[in-house]
Every structure is written in C-alpha cells, then in structure tokens.
C-alpha cells in the first residue's frame, strides 16, 4: 500500500511534522537527550510522570501501556492483519494523503485496540516508525515474522 510505504520511507524531520507542534517539541528534546534513541524516547513518552508528585485522580491503579504491545499492533497495521483492514481502506480511499492524516488514522485505530486516545499514541507511533530506519515495508514484515518464529522455537 503506497501510503504506508511512503510513511515508512519518510525522514524523521518529515514525520515530526505529522504531530502537533507541542508534541514535536517534546520529541525533539527526547531525541536530543538520548542521541536519537527512538525506542528510549518512546518509553519516555509512555512512562512520563511528574517527579515526586502524588496524583489526585480517580483511577490510580490503571495499567500502563507497553511499547512492545504498541509495536505488535503497528506490525499488524502495516503488515496487513485483517483487524485493521477497514482502517487501511480508509487511508487508501481518502483524498487526504498527508502524513498527519495517515498517522492520525493509525493512532486512533491502534488506540481503540489498546484503550488509549489516538492523540496520546501518535508521537509513539511516529517514533516507532522512525526506529524502522526506512527499511522496506515487506522486508520489515518478513523480519518481524522471523523474529517471532525464532522466539517461538526458543520457548
């Protein structure tokens, strides 16, 4: 699918324009602080918490979102899993081909699966795509398959 291939092949600077400016500024600081470690930066976003502060909300014990789980869902989205067929179709049929739109659809779809708002996940999706290092989509999907097979054999 051309739109997904294009997004994978985008430069990090282009991908940063697909999210809100305030989010992009935060990611730039993360990347600067970690010498462009995309995965640590993703963890920094997902695990952000104000230091030494007890939070006064009503759902203190809610489970956190793990980066590996997000990567798994991203793989399903990019590599053709049936559960995201409708969302991929939405991207293919839309006249809006902007990166912002594509990242938005992906984030909302994955967010529905894991119980998080798309706007919260979008920066992490961007960082995970950056971490693919512009690898060809088919090659990345094959690599992910092989990693899973090897992991299965080692169990």
């Amino acid at each position: 699918m051309e739109e997904l291939t294009n997004i994978i092949q985008s430069d990090p600077s282009e991908l940063l324009t697909s999210i809100d400016d305030f989010q992009s500024e935060i990611l730039k600081t993360f990347l600067e602080n970690t010498s462009n470690d995309y995965l640590t930066s993703a963890d920094n976003w997902l695990n952000a918490t104000t230091a030494n502060t007890a939070k006064f909300g009503g759902e203190p014990g809610k489970s956190k979102i793990y980066r590996d789980k997000l990567l798994e869902e991203l793989e399903k989205f990019l590599c053709g899993a049936e559960e995201y067929e409708e969302d991929r179709k939405k991207i293919a049929e839309s006249s809006d081909k902007s990166k912002q739109y594509v990242i938005g659809v992906m984030s909302v779809a994955i967010g529905k699966t894991i119980g998080a708002a798309g706007t919260f996940l979008a920066p992490v999706i961007v960082l995970l795509i950056m971490s693919l290092g512009k690898m060809a989509l088919n090659a990345w999907c094959e690599m992910r398959k092989e990693i899973k097979i090897k992991a299965g054999n080692n169990v």
Partner: protein, 217 residues
Amino acid sequence: MKIEGLDKVVYTIGRITPNGINLLGTCFLLNKAGLFATASHVTNNDNNNLVIFISGNTDLTTYQDTTNNQGQSVPASIFKVDPIRDICILKIDNQALSNLQIGGADDIKVSDNVGIVGFPHCVNGRNILTFQSTEVGAKVLIESSGIKSNHLVLNVQTRPGQSGSPIFRISDSKLIGMIIGSYVPGGGGGISLGGVDPHTLHQTTHAVSSEYILKMI
C-alpha cells in the same frame, strides 16, 4: 475574585461504568468552543466512556445539596495530551466556551494570593464545588522524563478529585495554573491507611503552569 458563575466553568469528569458514573477529577471550560482542560492522569489517556458531569447543583452562592447526585453527563473525548506536563484537553460536541483569561506561572509571584476551584473527594462520589484560597509558596521546576517544566507550590492541602482544578490569580481571576497533585517523595502509592496515603497529608500542593495549556489549543 468573583465566585458567581464558576459552576458554569468548573465541572467533574467521569467515566461511565456498569455501576454508574465514576468521578475521576476536576476539569474546566476553556475559552475555545467545546474544550476543557484537566490533568492527563485523571483520564489515564483513555477515551472510553468519558463524560463531563453537569449536576446543576454546584452554584457557590447557594447551599449545595450533598444528597443530590443527579445530573447530566455529556460525552467527551480526548483532544490533546501532554504527558510531560500532565495536561489533557477534552472536547465535547458543543460550542460552549468560557471567558477565561489564560496566563501562566510568570503572571504571579511568590506570596501572591490565588483561588483554587475544584471538587475535593469527588472520586468518592462527593460532587461539591469548593473554593480554597492560599498563596503561592514557591515557583519550582519539576522534571518528567528528563524535561523540566514550570510549576507552582501552593501552601494548601488538596485531596483526590482536585487534580485538574484551575488556579486563579485572586486580583483579576486570570488562570495561572492547574492542580496536578501533592509533593510525595517517589510519587507515593506505597502506604494506604483507610484509602488515604499519609504522605499526601500536608500543605505542599503541586500545580502546573497554564502556559502549557495555551500551546495545546
């Protein structure tokens, strides 16, 4: 600072569950149509079944009936999130807006008086809009994931349910911050006595500067 009309600006946010609405914290109507601000930990960044709860019984100029739990819930969705500053902007399908003047921590100095408006104990089902006044005790930088942001220390005790409460400069009602919790080394959560973390029972409340809200709307 005028208290009239604050019940049309400050509300509780809740999540619909099979057992009814669980109130999660405080939120307030911004000066852009349909947008509210709260703390991101109040919503846990999860859109599912979020509502703004409007009771019609929270006018600060009257006696609020503590036995009246009736109200209307308005579906809300998460519009923007800044997890570093613990800010969430919610959106409802309505053109309502407030006339808030949004500033930030730079607009106030240590020792200046502020008013806090929110719903202490709403997480226990108590939906009573409450005004507290105090002064700014310190201006501090607090870190999150390696980024330091502008915060205020307020010399007042706050309780669960008050996260997301707006903080106003008493002299002209300008918004200068939002409650996010209280100081506890390590963030607390280790000890609970009757549902209360004793580490939080003090007068060092943390509030994030509202300048970051401006960047999100």
